[in-house]
């Protein structure tokens, strides 16, 4: 702070000392507010960028590492998302991009004090992990959500070199398991672990190493094991981790030789020692006989993920029925309508429900889960705001009821498994039902549609869904009118992903300007012509227009021919140069410059 005499030592920013301004900013951490601050005026922009500690990059190609570093000289935490969401459905071909390595290299040089890296849907190689482990002395948090490209060797480097590692979360990444011994690379001196999630690892980790690690981690609050850890091993771990808040079991059935009753007793006892446990997950191969082991903790549970547990009613119902404080429930459709009705009666704190299909490829319903279950929950759970529901039938009436019951819904994703399924009672499209959802749920931020849908549903969405940020469509609509309604009406739209819909050039071109207000647009198997893509690229240089087409160069087909896949996103770093052979990025001058190798070169800045 300044001293008496020389006030010229203090840099004043519009009548506030810079230090004070930075002090004010340090108390403002939401990305939205930080962005607002940076847009106020030049001096605030400068002050803000110098003291910004944490950055979220929703699309790794929207900005380049050098731009990031130039603007923010002192970051401690970086979050980057790579591939578009539809990559989860195998719609983004292998090799498309989202390489983390260039970021790792740049940040290693620029941010020696970086502490946290969180990645989603990015390709991370072992070299990146090694670089991270050696470049950042204070590194604490590594989250790799749905990433791929690395092996357990990379993990070994992280374990060995990150002295103060607090969180290692492998999300649902695809890891090449070279050896289960990577865990042993955590030095004995490492006692800082707070969160460890290795649930995605396919093969066994060295259990003794794991046990020792847990034993010397007094701050451990989250532990998610992989399937390879069978139930009888749990007490050994839980004994050392009694302060756990989140726990993911491995396979919830015992080895052949185990004495069932002994296991039962030990595990129950172990759980009773964990009096802070709030969340449970895992439960592969769950055997109902072992469920009562959870009873010591289940009334305190706020989060329960049973989406890998193939148990059925009534055991399933019994288990969940006593979880009175449940706020989040992920479960397979074995829960059936009856189970959901029970939940509606007992889980009054429920905020988020996800019901996954146990057998999506079955030709007909294999369980008795219908729209009734969801309606029941919507009626019984006053705090319900986030829904993901896979089912095989739906009616407009049900949707209208749900909408009326839960006007505070924020996320609503309905997946009727068979495309274009109409209202099974009236055989009408589900336009009215979804229309009611957007009309009543004024705070809706995310919506996924399914079933038989005409352009009318998009009219409703365009008119009502003013807070909608993300919309996912498949096999819906009749014409460009549908797309036009969405693009012209949804003011808050940031991400739009479409597959197999009859949307073409007209709506896209008429609403081209809208694309610059969004993060990204994905369209696959629609009717957008290559010509329209070129036009868009020409007229909106702030966008990267990527044509993803595995049939070969677009010029080998007529211009009016629809492209296979289209990914459009706004960017300030220009086109990228790490595209594979099947991705064409259209330049402003509409010259096509495909780069046919997967070079990890930095996008130019």
């Amino acid at each position: 702070m300044s001293t008496l005499a020389p006030h010229f030592r203090t840099v004043m920013v519009n009548s506030l000392p810079l230090e004070v301004l930075e002090h004010i900013f340090s108390d403002i951490t939401s990305d939205k507010d930080r962005n607002s601050i940076s847009l106020v005026c030049k001096s605030w922009y400068e002050a803000e960028r110098c003291c910004r500690k944490s950055v979220f990059i929703g699309n790794c190609y929207a900005v380049s590492p050098s731009i990031l570093i130039r603007r923010f000289p002192d970051l401690r935490s970086v979050t980057i998302k790579g591939k578009p969401h539809f990559a989860d459905f195998d719609l983004v071909p292998e090799g498309w991009g989202a390489y983390f390595y260039p970021w790792a290299v740049s940040m290693a040089k620029a941010y020696p004090f970086l502490e946290e890296i969180r990645l989603k849907r990015m390709v991370v190689c072992d070299e990146s992990l090694e670089l991270i482990s050696k470049s950042f002395k204070n590194f604490r948090v590594l989250v790799l959500q749905s990433c791929e490209g690395f092996t357990t060797d990379g993990l070994a480097a992280i374990a060995a070199n990150c002295r103060n590692l607090r969180q290692l979360d492998l999300g649902e990444s695809e890891v090449e398991d070279l050896s289960g011994h990577w865990l042993s690379h955590f030095p004995d001196s490492c006692t800082s672990l707070v969160s460890l999630n290795i649930a995605c690892l396919a093969s066994e980790v060295s259990f003794s190493a794991l046990e020792r690690l847990v034993a010397r981690s007094p701050h451990l609050r989250t532990l998610r094991l992989n399937r390879a850890v069978s139930i009888e091993k749990l007490p050994k771990l839980l004994r050392h981790a009694s302060k756990l808040v989140e726990f993911g079991t491995g396979s919830y059935s015992a080895d052949m030789q185990a004495d069932v009753s002994e296991v039962f007793v030990n595990v129950s006892q172990a759980f009773s020692g964990c009096n802070q446990l709030k969340g449970l997950s895992g439960f592969w191969d769950a055997v109902p006989a072992y469920f009562p082991t959870i009873y010591p903790v289940h009334s305190k549970l706020t989060s329960l993920n049973l989406s890998y547990a193939t148990i059925q009613i009534p055991d399933l119902g019994k288990l969940i029925g006593n979880c009175l404080n449940l706020q989040r429930l992920w479960v397979l459709d074995y829960i059936e309508d009856s189970g959901l009705e029970e939940i509606a009666n007992t889980c009054k704190e429920l905020q988020e429900l996800r019901v996954f299909p146990s057998d999506p490829f079955a030709p007909g319903p294999n369980v008795s889960l219908t729209e009734q279950g969801l309606v029941a929950v919507s009626m019984g759970c006053p705090k319900l705001q986030s829904v993901l529901y896979f089912c095989r039938q739906m009616t407009n009436d049900a949707l209208v009821t749900i909408a009326r019951n839960r006007p505070h819904m924020i996320r609503f994703r309905l997946c009727i498994i068979e495309p274009r399924t109409p209202d099974y009672l009236t055989l009408e499209p589900l336009d009215t039902g979804f229309g009611a959802i957007v009309q009543h749920c004024k705070e809706l931020r995310r919506l996924s549609l399914s079933g038989l849908l005409t352009d009318r549903v998009f009219e409703y969405i365009g008119v009502h869904a003013k807070k909608l940020e993300m919309l996912s469509l498949a096999f819906a609509g009749d014409s460009d009118l549908g797309l036009h309604y969405v693009l012209s009406g949804c003011e808050s739209l940031r991400k739009l992903e479409i597959r197999d819909c009859p949307f073409g050039d007209e709506a896209l071109l008429a609403n081209a300007a809208k694309l610059e207000t969004m993060r990204s647009l994905w369209m696959s198997n629609c009717s957008v012509s290559f010509e329209a893509c070129k036009l868009l690229a020409q007229k909106l240089p702030g966008l990267n227009v990527e044509v993803i087409d595995e049939r070969g160069h677009p010029d080998t087909r007529p211009e009016s021919c629809p492209v296979e896949k289209l990914y459009i996103y706004r960017t300030v770093s220009g086109r990228r140069f790490d595209t594979p052979g099947f991705v064409w990025i259209i330049d402003e001058d509409a010259a096509l410059t495909p780069y046919s190798n997967g070079n990890c070169s930095l996008a130019s800045s």
Binding site: D88, F89, D500, G504, L540, P541
Partner: protein
């Protein structure tokens, strides 16, 4: 030496930059490190003549507030709860006063007041738009458009603009049709994929969707398991942290963006014949105008459009002119927006809201 008054309290003298001098209880004033130092190290403040000169940013008004704070807190017996309550009330000030106070406290190195006021100011800033923040703090709007790279307001969410688009699109279509009549070999064979303009624009004949075939989702069962199960969408394994999605950084202010191919010629593209802009054979008409429509529906649309045009009180070219002239006047222009007819125009914030 400080003058000892009968009440056994010592007083010291403080002088603010405007020359006014006041007497303050020593124990209160000593709460400020700077004053403390001046008194103890430099021996100042004992009399009116050698009053402690306070930093420039301290004026009588904020000094009073500061002293009030010090006076309260230097009393030893108070509980934490009391102190907290006092502080909460203390910072219920208008923004200007808060800034002023923060600045003064900073110069006096009075950390607690700096912290309090900073936190209060942070609450003032949170949730506001840049515009609102500017207003509140009386800050200049001096970032250039490039620097702002603000997310574009969607031009077409203004219903008048939409109707204008329709009007304009109709006129364009008339022109196009007239041209077509002249040009006999305008279209070669019909496009195989039935994406001719007419089909796309028609309500009734919405194109043959079945010709595209029912696409079955590719569903490789991977060890990832969850994601590929349904033919429909929806990832079922996303971390639910939607707070993170509140911002895309491209919307933030990134100066010196390298990609900005904003050619200066864009400005000059504000013209009256946007149809010249698009040399492609694609018709960019607003899709709901079509001569193939059944006459009743067409009439309905026509009526709606004419009616709206009347209500708009101006025919579209005048409106465009208005927009253009507004655009040229203002120094800070919003980035490009493209309306349905494909013309590029710069529109101001005023137009966005209008």
């Amino acid at each position: 030496m400080a003058i000892v008054k009968p009440e056994m309290k010592s007083y010291i003298w403080l002088e603010t930059a405007d020359g006014s001098i006041q007497e303050v209880e020593e124990e209160v004033a000593m709460f400020c490190p700077v004053i403390c130092r001046e008194l103890l190290q430099n021996g100042k403040g004992s009399s009116k003549n050698c009053a402690i000169s306070l930093p420039e940013r301290v004026n009588p008004a904020n000094l009073e507030l500061i002293l009030e704070f010090c006076r309260f807190h230097q009393v030893p017996g108070r509980s934490n709860k009391e102190r907290k309550k006092h502080d909460e009330k203390f910072v219920r000030l208008d923004t200007k006063t808060l800034c002023d106070l923060a600045s003064a406290a900073d110069s006096l190195q009075l950390r607690p007041v700096v912290d309090l006021t900073s936190r209060a100011l942070a609450r003032v800033i949170e949730g506001k738009t840049p515009e609102e923040i500017r207003e509140t703090f009386h800050l200049p709007d001096d970032l250039t458009e490039e620097e702002k790279l603000e997310p574009l307001r969607n031009m077409t969410d203004d219903p008048r603009i939409r109707l204008l688009n329709r009007l304009y699109a109709r006129k364009r279509k008339e022109l196009y049709d007239r041209k077509k009549l002249k040009n006999v070999d305008a279209e070669e064979e019909p496009r195989v994929d039935e994406r001719s303009v007419d089909d796309l624009l028609s309500f009734i004949n919405s194109g043959d969707q079945d010709s595209k075939g029912v696409r079955v989702t590719k569903n490789k069962k991977k060890s990832r398991g969850r994601k590929e199960q349904a033919r429909n969408l929806s990832s079922n394994n996303e971390a639910g942290n939607y707070n993170k999605e509140s911002n895309c950084h491209t919307s933030g202010c990134l100066n010196g963006d390298t990609n900005n191919g904003s050619s200066p010629s864009r400005n000059s593209k504000l013209q009256n014949s946007p149809s010249a802009m698009f040399s492609s054979k694609l018709d960019l008409d607003d899709f709901d105008i079509d001569d193939e429509l059944d006459p009743a529906r067409k009439e309905e649309i026509d009526r709606e459009v004419e009616d709206f045009a009347r209500r708009l009180d101006s025919v579209w070219p005048e409106r465009i002119q208005q927009i253009l002239s507004l655009g040229q006047e203002t120094r800070r222009l919003r980035p490009i927006s493209m309306n349905g007819n494909g013309s590029m125009k710069r529109c101001t914030a005023g137009v966005d809201r209008g």
